[in-house]
């Protein structure tokens, strides 16, 4: 048993490296979470010449993601070649629909011709499992080191400053000048390290989603689509989320349809279970035919931040920044449910700010503050501020918006289009009466119109 490395026939011997190098401060930044925000930050930093380590708890980026919706790509387009991305369908139609619990539906649908043309209003359905993996690969190609199946469990501190992370692995601590917290809505690390408070109950929503497999042709026929065109349907009212405040959605992928509901945690705590809510939504006569015959291939649940600008934590700390959903950057205004574009935009600005700070050999909060400033001036914070009032307003008007209005609309429609032997004029009058009565008389209607004017402003 001789162990001298024999170089028989000149065969190259394996290089045995028993010593493990130590990577403390070998990376300029550690990114926690390889979602949209984390990858955008990592990619931006790598392009600026930084060495970045991105840690992801899933076996691959995207495997833990449950989002079932529309990816908004204006910022991603600037970072990567989106034509190579695994996109499902572009959004050719948006449809907003009010459902009563009696089976009524009133909908408005829009299909602007412009959406059919490139870049399709930067709105695409994607399967995050595929998209996130692809996006992360672009970061890896730019030089980022991605390590998966590794959960960050806490932050390392020196004095007050964050100087690294701890993970669930043996020998699991690693030091780096800056840590980017991009862990998504369930931000246990940021909360555990006091970078943000546990969100108030009214600042988060629950969501449950299912994916149904259907033939491509069936989807095209049911939703009146051609080629890569897709549809995004949003639903409100008691028929969508029962007694809760929130909404439902149906989005088309290439060969599957995502169906889900999003509503306040408060309502779930009050006893309205996600399963029952989704079940009722899927059984509504306006929704059931869309998924009929589909095979259920996925069920998932998640939280969605909806606290708006007022629930945003401090974005920069000594040695750390918070991006994406972890920072509560989601717009959930009823008409809009947007988090993907904000996640990428915030990751981009954070990445730029970190590169600039490190170029000055600094990583303190003051040096990183450019991130807060840039985000503040971007559409992200602007939109969050603009719609801040919305959640509170609809919550206050739930009874009217979710119960009375959907029924009144249905009654008004029935009345207005009624086929009998009275005059159209009388039908119109009766229809108007239904609506005015539901709105609390003319005065009530005017008051409500005023309150909701900002929705379209």
């Amino acid at each position: 048993m001789s162990h001298e490395a024999t170089t028989a026939g000149g065969l190259q011997r394996p290089d045995l490296q028993t010593e493990t190098p130590n990577y403390d401060d070998a990376f300029d930044a550690v990114v926690v979470g390889a979602g949209l925000a984390g990858t955008a930050a990592a990619l931006t930093m790598a392009r600026d010449g930084l060495d970045v380590l991105m840690l992801e708890r899933g076996p691959a980026p995207g495997t833990k993601n449950v989002f079932g919706g529309v990816l908004y790509t204006p910022t991603i387009r600037e970072l990567v070649d989106i034509d190579d991305a695994p996109l499902e369908r572009y959004i050719a139609e948006k449809r907003f629909s009010i459902l009563s619990s009696d089976g009524d539906e009133t909908a408005i649908s829009m299909r602007p011709g412009a959406w059919r043309d490139d870049p399709h209003n930067d709105s695409y359905t994607v399967l995050r499992r595929r998209f996130d993996e692809w996006f992360a690969k672009q970061a890896v190609d730019a030089g980022v080191t991605l390590v998966t199946e590794t959960t960050v469990t806490g932050l390392l501190r020196d004095g007050g400053a964050v100087v690294g992370v701890t993970t669930d692995r043996p020998d699991g601590e690693i030091h780096a000048p800056v840590v980017v917290l991009a862990e998504g809505a369930n931000s246990l690390v940021s909360e555990g390290a006091d970078l943000k408070e546990r969100p108030e109950r009214d600042a988060v929503a629950v969501s449950v989603k299912e994916v149904f497999k259907l033939d491509r042709d069936t989807i095209d026929d049911r939703f009146r689509l051609d080629g890569d065109a897709g549809a995004a349907y949003q639903y409100f009212g008691e028929g969508a989320v029962g007694e809760a405040v929130g909404g439902g959605f149906v989005y088309t992928n290439k060969r599957s349809v995502s169906v889900g509901v999003v509503y306040r945690v408060e309502d779930a705590a009050a006893g309205q279970t996600p399963e029952a809510t989704l079940d009722a939504f899927e059984s509504h006569p306006a929704v059931a035919p869309l998924i009929r015959g589909g095979r259920r291939i996925e069920y998932s649940a998640h939280v969605v931040p909806e606290g708006g600008a007022r629930a945003m934590p401090d974005l920069v700390h000594d040695g750390a920044v918070v991006v994406g959903d972890a920072a509560g950057l989601v717009l959930n205004s009823g008409v809009h449910l947007e988090g993907t574009n904000m996640a990428v935009e915030s990751g981009y600005h954070a990445g730029k700010a970190i590169a600039a700070a490190l170029a000055d050999d600094r990583s303190d909060a003051e040096a990183l503050a450019a991130y807060t400033r840039d985000l503040d001036q971007s559409f992200v914070v602007e939109n969050l501020r603009h719609y801040d009032w919305f959640q509170r307003t609809i919550a206050a008007d739930r009874q009217f918006l979710f119960e009375d209005l959907p029924r009144a609309l249905a009654s008004a429609e029935t009345e207005y289009f009624k086929m009998d032997r009275t005059s159209k004029d009388e039908h119109t009058g009766a229809a108007r009466d239904h609506l005015v009565a539901a709105a609390g008389g003319w005065f009530g209607a005017a008051k409500r119109a005023w309150r909701f004017r900002r929705m379209l402003s």
């Binding site: 048993m1 001789s2 162990h3 024999t6 028989a8 026939g9 065969l11 190259q12 011997r13 394996p14 290089d15 045995l16 490296q17 028993t18 493990t20 190098p21 130590n22 990577y23 380590l53 691959a60 080191t145 390590v147 590794t150 993970t167 669930d168 692995r169 043996p170 020998d171 699991g172 601590e173 690693i174």
Partner: protein
């Protein structure tokens, strides 16, 4: 033997079983979409190799035969703690069944001057379990199959394995060099350390050996594979006969009648 043993661990890349589907129309395995991962039983092989090194000293070298992406499983082994890795890769290996596969691994083990070669019980994609005995046969080395645990006796140059046999276990002492196949689930594979994992995935590079390097270029590949696949079929589940009974008495009567 104070410088320890040369331990070689064989690791195979397989499609992630969670993602493999069988096309019911053609009966073929749909592997193309499934990401390639380390064969699950090989995690037990790696753990045994590392535990053996902990006990007797020496080094652990991981080897795999496969196309270049298979070096990912060498990374996994090095991340867990293996000292180095060898990728046996060559177009000439294409289409090899268990005979040439075990020949290539056997030659590599010989080249590495192995004292112990540790394998998994079987692969999750072909699951013949023939490769470990094949390696032993090609080299004329001892073998310990269906091994549950290892007890090294370095002073005697012997490795004692506890083998799972019907109705109990047996302990077999094998003289080195020896080929071991660990039972699937025999141990709890240690998770990779963070820094080691970063090393394995960024800096570690396996050496690559070709069939010619091992002097077996004329003895591997499809032409040298005795296995011929006659055909593929999927078995549909057989509908079981069912009877519903309402009470325990009725069930008893029913059983009494059937038996």
């Amino acid at each position: 033997m104070n410088d320890g043993w040369n331990i070689v661990v064989c690791v195979k890349q397989v499609p992630d079983a969670d993602d493999v589907t069988i096309d019911p129309d053609t009966g073929t395995l749909n592997r193309s979409d499934a990401p390639a991962v380390l064969n699950k039983p090989d995690h037990n092989a790696v753990e045994s190799a590392l535990a053996l090194r902990d006990a007797v000293g020496g080094t652990v070298t991981a080897i795999t035969m496969g196309p270049p992406p298979a070096s990912a499983v060498l990374q996994a082994a090095v991340a867990a703690g293996a000292d180095g890795g060898v990728l046996l890769t060559d177009r000439a290996f294409g289409g090899s069944d268990t005979w040439p596969t075990s020949l290539a691994l056997a030659r590599a083990a010989e080249e590495l001057d192995a004292d112990v070669v540790i394998c998994g019980e079987e692969s999750t994609d072909s699951s013949t379990g023939q490769v470990p005995p094949g390696i032993a046969a090609h080299n004329g080395w001892a073998q310990l199959t269906y091994t549950e645990s290892l007890d090294p006796r370095p002073d005697e140059g012997v490795l004692v394995g506890t083998r799972d046999v019907e109705g109990g276990y047996e302990r077999v002492a094998a003289a080195l060099p020896v080929v071991v196949a660990m039972v699937f689930g025999a141990n709890d594979p240690r998770p990779a350390g963070l820094h080691r994992k970063i090393f394995a995935e960024t800096e570690f590079e396996p050496v690559q050996w070709t069939a010619a390097d091992l002097d077996i270029e004329d003895r591997v590949g499809l032409a040298n594979s005795p296995t011929k696949v006659g055909g593929m079929d999927t078995a549909s589940p057989v509908e079981r006969e069912r009877t519903r009974v309402d009470s325990v008495e009725a069930l008893y009567d029913h059983l009494a009648e059937v038996l």
